[in-house]
């Protein structure tokens, strides 16, 4: 399983997301390294189809496909926690559930 964390340094949420992702991988028993991919320009954001930082991809697929089609750019991504509140990082339960789904489909 290829796990990528795409990030931009204008948004400080990636270390928290990296820690959450590492914990989720461990709790789901997934043996995979996290590839950190820094996005540094709008051109690169468009090429990588980067909807904002942080973005988690497994085998090339965004584990949380954006509901709205935003322009690909250097921006911070808005996630929703399970109680509906906006957040700079994915809900930890949603992250574990997404990993389970991806793991089961392999």
């Amino acid at each position: 399983m290829r796990v990528e964390l795409l990030w931009w340094d204008g948004c400080p949420s990636y270390p928290e997301t990296q820690a959450d992702l590492r914990e989720a991988l461990a709790s789901e028993g997934v043996d995979a390294e996290i590839e950190m991919v820094e996005i540094e320009s709008d051109d690169q954001a468009r090429r990588e189809r980067f909807p904002g930082s942080p973005t988690i991809r497994i085998d090339g697929e965004d584990v949380f496909p954006p509901e709205e089609q935003e322009p690909f750019s250097l921006t911070c991504r808005v996630y929703r926690l399970r109680d509906g509140r906006p957040s700079p990082t994915p809900d930890r339960e949603d992250l574990r559930a997404a990993l389970r789904r991806c793991h089961a489909h392999r």
């Binding site: 204008g10 948004c11 709008d42 750019s73 911070c76 509140r85 990082t89």
Partner: protein
């Protein structure tokens, strides 16, 4: 701008077309529409504005050309969609106010006393995820300033999205 410095006055348009600026004890929060940190802290900051009788100003300085969700029109739409805010939402199109204050992130909170002396600068509280924090650092600073004291914690690290400066 450092703690103890006199902050610049300013006059910026709000979403109702009125010019606003610091007046008496004032909270200036640099914020925006698109940043998840600003959104995560928004309700807590709004509650502070409702709980304290001070001037409370939200200022959006982001470059709207690269971030259209922070345009003046988008700001007006957001306030209208929310049924109005209990404080004005100002547009800093030239980014001069954000530069004068040395704002770095959204949100970035500044508390000025009645003489416009900077008494607190930083984050609303320690954790954007924890609503129970209730913007406590800002509340502590306001409690001190309104009592004529200096905040015990005058400065914290602002946490949020970088301000989107025009190129």
């Amino acid at each position: 701008m450092r703690i103890g410095d006199k902050a610049a006055s300013f006059s910026l348009p709000d979403t109702d077309g009125q010019e606003r600026g610091p007046d008496g004890v004032t909270v200036v929060v640099f914020t925006c529409n698109h940043c998840p940190y600003a959104l995560a802290w928004h309700d807590r900051l709004t509650q502070v504005a409702e709980d304290y009788e001070v001037t409370f100003l939200a200022v959006n300085p982001n470059d709207a050309e690269r971030y259209p969700r922070d345009s003046f029109d988008a700001m007006k739409e957001r306030v209208e969609a929310d049924g109005g805010w209990p404080y004005p939402y100002l547009r800093d199109a030239s980014q001069e106010v954000a530069r004068a204050y040395g704002a770095q992130t959204t949100p970035d909170v500044f508390v000025l006393d009645a003489e416009r002396i900077l008494c607190y600068r930083g984050a609303p509280d320690a954790d954007h995820r924890d609503e129970g924090q209730r913007a406590v650092w800002l509340r502590e600073a306001l409690d001190a300033v309104l009592a004529g004291d200096e905040p015990q914690r005058p400065e914290t690290e602002p946490v949020g999205c970088s301000i989107k400066w025009s190129r």
